[in-house]
Symmetry: C2
Subunit: 190 residues, 2 copies
């Protein structure tokens, strides 16, 4: 009955027993909850640069991804790029989308809620008057982002919003982006 | 003298004449500065989901990337994923890195500053007590992000910080992340 055994421990592809074990481990040893995530970026030319994602710190250990992830960035032609990759503000929407989705799925799984399907769309407003320094009243960043979730799950339709709220209540990227994060910058020559 | 002609118009791979034309065009027709960027995300299973980046609005037009960009997300094994892709908070660092770099390069190019090489590293602190709801005083998102730029450019070393400041002063992602963005979320069944 290996299959049934596995099914009883995995909800929505999340190993919920491992999730509860993680919670117990953090309660026993609070320092294992501290993580440091890192990337290294190299400029190529113009609007093209790429980030390498290789290692991070967590659970009091230095940890590595099994393979290095390389993330390219570019700009579309209308913004003077070569359109070889998504641009930085599109990556920001992906960070938000992926984090809201995963946070929702983990917390729903911990509550035993089965989710069948999730699709979402994200749209953000930018006004180049900010980036181009043409109007000091217009911010450089996104003026607002609209998110639309479509979900199929084993709950009544009027409870779907509560499932999505599990994402907005717990997502590290949603929290970072809506509340702001202190960023310190240092510079040296090479 | 095509090469010399081209060199006079391109600085650091940025077509600066096109950049100045863009500024003139925005001054003449302010509405072309309004952009909407979009992604669509699909949940796969557990911590795996992917975003499609296909189209955006800008310069009063619906515009498409020449090819669709697909961005995967996952979590490492220690966070109950399969480690097939960078995770959402690593994507957030990439969005910040790529935007700071491109913003710096564009604005330095407009000033005629030649940049030879740029590398940067980004590190952010997360405490899982937030995500796991174990301590209401600990935020879900990044507590802080440290950025370290290394630059080689045709300016004295003591002016390198001013070049990096062109990035922090103009970057849409830096502005979004340090000051926060309003995000509205709607939900429907499927």
């Amino acid at each position: 009955m290996a299959t049934a055994h596995k099914a009883s421990k995995t909800v929505n592809g999340v190993a919920v027993d491992d999730l509860f074990s993680t919670i117990d481990a953090v309660k026993a040893t609070p320092s294992i909850a501290k993580f440091k995530f890192r990337i290294q970026n190299q400029w190529q030319t113009g609007s093209r640069n790429c980030s390498m994602v290789t290692a991070f710190t967590g659970a009091n250990q230095e940890l590595s991804h099994p393979k290095k992830f390389t993330l390219q960035a570019d700009e579309p032609a209308i913004l003077l790029g070569n359109d070889t990759a998504a641009n930085p503000v599109e990556y920001l929407l992906h960070a938000l989308a992926s984090c809201l989705t995963t946070s929702m799925v983990y917390h729903a799984s911990a509550r035993g809620i089965q989710i069948d399907q999730v699709e979402s769309s994200f749209e953000g407003d930018l006004d180049l008057h900010g980036f181009l320094n043409l109007d000091p009243k217009i911010r450089k960043g996104y003026q607002g982002i609209r998110v639309r979730f479509k979900i199929r799950a084993n709950v009544p339709d009027d409870q779907l919003e509560e499932i999505v709220r599990l994402g907005t209540q717990h997502s590290p990227v949603f929290d970072s982006l809506t509340k702001g994060v202190p960023v310190s910058v240092s510079t040296e020559s090479m």
